[in-house]
């Protein structure tokens, strides 16, 4: 300490972060008491009485609030000592464990569900701790192939994913903290077990159905506020008609050809011009409206593929 320094001055750390601010608020605690009456012509009609407090639990306890609740909660947690790890079968050993996730592709919701990937000498499991749920699991004897696949993420970066092909023909995608290590261990674990030799091959989805026709189509999409014409790409394959807008991630219309009972043209106005509307009647009794720049060609194709797969075309000759 040198004497010629000016006396100490209060300074402020110029870097205050949101986290700091929140910490101060929680450490000090904040209380809100609000009484409010809504009156019309001096006659009180609605009363509001609000008592709110937010603080860190330590501060709450200092002020003698929520003490019982705190004790009860902790006592309850003590009694039901949560089982954290995976429930193992007898003689089952964990080979490795790392955080990861499973891509859910069934049902309405499609997306990554984070959890912990467990590889045991019998199973591959993705487990979520809170709330506890086995997100996905398979026996190692059902794994027929494993490969790493780069995938572009929402943020535009590339990540390696682990694709697992199963004996029933299904294919699942996992993410893991160390995808290479997991693949090596998984391959090793699969190779060590008795059973048929692994083909280690994946079906490529492109081979499945080559399109019979593909081109720009308008779709009269049913919406809450009334149907709306939207432009997009139509794709007719051997077993279905699919329509997808470029801004959607999934097709808005997937129509199995066996569901089509009639196809006819309607002389109505559409974005494709006068008379370009094609009405497709389905087995469920709905009518799907499409419009194309070349409606005649699409109608022909739909009738042709329809007659090939089922009792369609004759009924479709009705014109509107």
């Amino acid at each position: 300490m040198t004497a010629d320094l000016s006396p100490m001055r209060p300074t402020r750390d110029p870097r205050v972060t949101l986290d700091d601010l929140l910490e101060v608020v929680l450490n000090k605690g904040a209380v809100l008491h609000l009484d409010l009456i809504v009156a019309v012509a001096d006659i009180p009609l609605i009363g509001v009485s609000l008592r709110a407090a937010i603080a860190g639990m330590e501060t709450m306890l200092e002020y003698g609030m929520m003490r019982h609740w705190d004790e009860d909660t902790r006592a309850w947690a003590e009694r039901s000592t949560a089982r954290r790890a995976l429930d193992l079968e007898e003689d089952e050993n964990i080979v490795c464990r790392m955080s990861g996730g499973h891509l859910l592709t069934e049902g309405l919701y499609h997306g990554w569900r984070p959890g912990t990937v467990y590889l045991t000498d019998r199973r591959l499991v993705v487990l979520r701790d809170e709330p506890r749920e086995i997100l996905w699991e398979t026996g190692l004897d059902a794994v027929t192939a494993v490969r790493l696949e780069p995938e572009e993420t929402v943020g535009g970066e590339e990540r390696l994913r682990l694709d697992v092909a199963l004996a029933d023909g299904g294919q699942e995608r996992l993410s893991a903290r160390e995808p290479e290590e997991l693949r090596a261990l998984l391959t090793e674990a699969c190779a060590g077990r008795p059973g048929p030799a692994l083909p280690f091959a994946f079906r490529s989805p492109a081979e499945e159905d080559p399109p019979l026709a593909e081109g720009h189509l308008w779709y009269h999409e049913p919406r809450r506020g009334g149907p709306l014409w939207r432009g997009g790409q139509g794709r007719l394959t051997g077993d279905r008609l699919v329509w997808k807008s470029p801004v959607d991630s999934r097709p808005a219309l997937v129509l199995p050809l066996t569901d089509i009972t009639a196809v006819r043209r309607i002389p109505e106005y559409s974005p494709a011009g006068e008379g370009g509307v094609i009405a497709v009647r389905t087995a469920a009794g709905d009518e799907v409206r499409l419009a194309a720049d070349d409606p005649a060609a699409w109608t022909e194709r739909l009738r042709a593929t329809g007659s090939a797969t089922g009792p369609v075309a004759a009924a479709g000759r009705v014109t509107g």
Partner: protein, 104 residues
């Protein structure tokens, strides 16, 4: 110039925002956990369970960010929020700045 909002950039933005907010909450939880542990109120087992859970939460958050490739955008957004808070706090406790701003 047409405004294009495709599903991907929308997802990216919303996801980054949500993850950043969760990160802020996580930070608050971390700091409060530290206070509780220093409060000598918790049993050693409870303290250990708490630490494990927070560590796991941290791991999960990192994994989520990695999975969606939003590590850098979340960091940017977090820094941006910090700067806004810094600015507001600075204004609140520095009356001199009010005069400066009023004077132009």
């Amino acid at each position: 110039m047409p405004l294009t909002v495709d599903e991907k950039s929308l997802k990216h933005g919303v996801l980054s925002l949500v993850v950043t907010l969760v990160e802020v909450i996580q930070e608050a939880l971390d700091r409060q956990a530290l206070r509780r542990m220093n409060g000598h109120d918790l049993t050693p087992q409870e303290a250990e369970r708490l630490a494990d859970a927070l560590l796991e939460l941290d791991e999960a958050m990192e994994q989520i960010k990695e999975d969606h490739g939003i590590v850098s955008s979340v960091a940017d957004l977090h820094r941006g929020l910090d700067e806004v808070v810094d600015d507001v706090v600075d204004k609140l406790i520095n009356p001199r700045r009010w005069a400066e701003e009023a004077g132009g």
